[in-house]
Symmetry: C2
Subunit: 367 residues, 2 copies
């Protein structure tokens, strides 16, 4: 069997080995079907069952109430930036955006094409080219418009390594969340949200599918004038099958959700995720300042651990050495530099422990 | 090894067994990479090479000139129906559509949201619920507007089993083609087209990727006001990587194009496709009227062979018996009924011969 390394990429990211092995086993032909998952009709009974299991897996894991539709669309979270605004902003054409990183800003950029955006809060700091984020705003910082069509926030910020500990309180205004980089990392109360969307390529599956969980009353906002593929109501009425969906991606989501359900669900994942993050953040905090976490302590992400070394030269050296030692993806995002360890659901505790041992050893030799 | 059956589905459709075996072998971890194709970053050198090979494969197979961009986007041909109009219709906001089937009509429906559509020709026949298409228009039937932003046509009509033998002559007006269901079935002269798009799930790969081949001067039509993900210019400037693409889908396209190049390219494919279609159409024509082709003879598709039996009961009986005998997907599209054999590039001649033998036997017993 081909040797595997520790994958700390921010996304696409590591998937459970059991899922990869099952998908590999079935790739030539689904058992009893005689065709590959890549070849079966999206209107076949075989795919219907796979699709239903994927939806049911999401529903069970997140305890999604019955008055929500679960959709698997294409175009990633980036197309959702537009679809959210196009569908949900009318008729008032104004919405609140909470800015905590680059993805929030990109979401806002598309919303501005549709209507008026109120920046309910921004934690951006710095000047000019050196702007950055390092924290989640406090509830008291939010300047919310009680008449907004919705409030949009990004639950986890991959680039800066910050994460909301709980949802912002927004009263009766519908709450919309880009949960691309932390969905399924812990149980959440879906009923607090009007809509959650998430690119699959972190905790759910491969790239090319975006999960949309939307409360059914929100679908009434979608206007007939919208382009068909951009219309949530039409996508929901057609159960994500208005046209051919990413059938393979949905199949992998079926396998990932089944794997999570068979391994303790999200309570168990949360316990493991807390443990992994604790090991890594403790290593930073106990390094005497050699490894310096980027995010404020109370805003730290359990998914993406961002940090710096005393010099860019040492950062490069560590990255080069980790690659040789079998850890991939530690280089920080090009817009902030430094290092980033993405430790999503499928990243093993053992990998975190080995990374910390490697970092401690590196500090001894270079500190 | 899991047994495979003959897959006559219209799409997603049969893929080359060699491609499935290679993908299966590598799915757990790409050789020398230590991560699955499902897990690697779209900004990694490994993916860069895969992406480049997929583009190069398309470029070589279709002999795409250098002044065209090759993009792999999401949302299928259905999202292209909107993107074509949104990007290419301005500033004149009028375009010609040639209607030869349900997909042409869907493309036109989205274009009407953007500007004025002139129906340059329609071969629709029948009344009310019984409307249908069975032929490609003659050049003399086209009522083209020399001032149109573009002319749109659908090269092959999966539902009705009709296909253009050569492109419509449109003078200096840019020609845009939905080639979803026959791209790569024979060599074409790409320089005749301003743009070609094709959902991957017939001759190119799995669902979830749409190939766009667009002449670079057309990109100048994309206006800054367009939503980012719907903007061809931005997608081309970012080499399909504005956001995370369907990495697995692009990987399979790499394998499929390599397979075609290693097996004689499109000249060879065309030779085989002609032979397969000839065997099947001859069987219809030599059945004494028991099997009756739906499409006019001069409009017949080499990809989708549509036909009827004397009664709906016999059609159902034949479909049921073929399923038991190991042929999947022969049931015609719900909108036209009857039978449809989709014999794309990867469908083997042997399968066509066995199907014809089965049909001859069925006729003897039931004719």
């Amino acid at each position: 069997m081909e040797k595997r390394i520790y994958n700390l990429n921010a996304g696409p990211a590591v998937l459970p080995e059991e899922v990869l092995l099952e998908a590999q086993k079935e790739l030539f032909a689904l058992p009893g079907v005689g065709m590959s998952i890549l070849e079966i009709s999206h209107r076949s009974k075989t795919f219907d069952a796979i699709h239903a299991e994927a939806k049911e897996g999401i529903k069970k894991l997140l305890n999604v109430p019955d008055d929500y539709s679960i959709l698997f669309l294409q175009g990633g979270a980036s197309l959702q930036f537009s679809m959210v605004a196009l569908n949900l902003m009318p008729p008032k054409n104004k919405a609140d955006y909470i800015l905590t990183g680059s993805w929030s800003k990109k979401a806002m950029k598309e919303a501005k094409r549709v209507g008026t955006v109120n920046i309910a809060a921004s934690t951006e700091e710095g000047e000019g080219d050196k702007k950055y984020f390092k924290r989640i705003p406090k509830q008291s910082e939010l300047k919310l418009d009680p008449d907004a069509s919705y409030v949009h926030f990004t639950s986890n910020n991959t680039i800066y390594g910050t994460q909301w500990k709980s949802e912002p309180q927004v009263g009766n205004v519908p709450l919309v969340c880009d949960a691309s980089s932390d969905i399924l990392y812990k149980p959440i109360d879906v009923s607090k949200y009007a809509m959650i969307y998430a690119g699959a390529q972190k905790n759910i599956g491969p790239s090319g599918v975006v999960l949309v969980i939307i409360r059914k009353d929100m679908l009434e906002r979608s206007q007939d004038s919208l382009h068909t593929m951009l219309n949530y109501k039409i996508q929901a009425e057609n159960d994500s099958l208005y046209n051919t969906p990413n059938t393979f991606g949905i199949y992998i989501i079926k396998l990932v959700t089944k794997h999570l359900l068979n391994n303790g669900g999200l309570d168990k994942m949360y316990e493991i995720n807390k443990k992994k993050a604790e090991i890594l953040y403790n290593a930073l905090d106990n390094s005497g300042g050699f490894y310096k976490g980027h995010a404020d302590k109370d805003s730290r992400s359990l998914m993406n651990v961002t940090f710096n070394l005393p010099t860019p030269e040492l950062e490069k050296k560590l990255i080069d050495e980790t690659v040789k030692a079998g850890f991939a993806g530690l280089k920080g995002h090009r817009s902030v530099g430094g290092l980033r360890a993405s430790i999503y659901n499928a990243f093993p505790i053992k990998g975190v422990e080995e990374l910390v041992a490697f970092m401690n050893d590196f500090q001894k030799k270079n500190g």
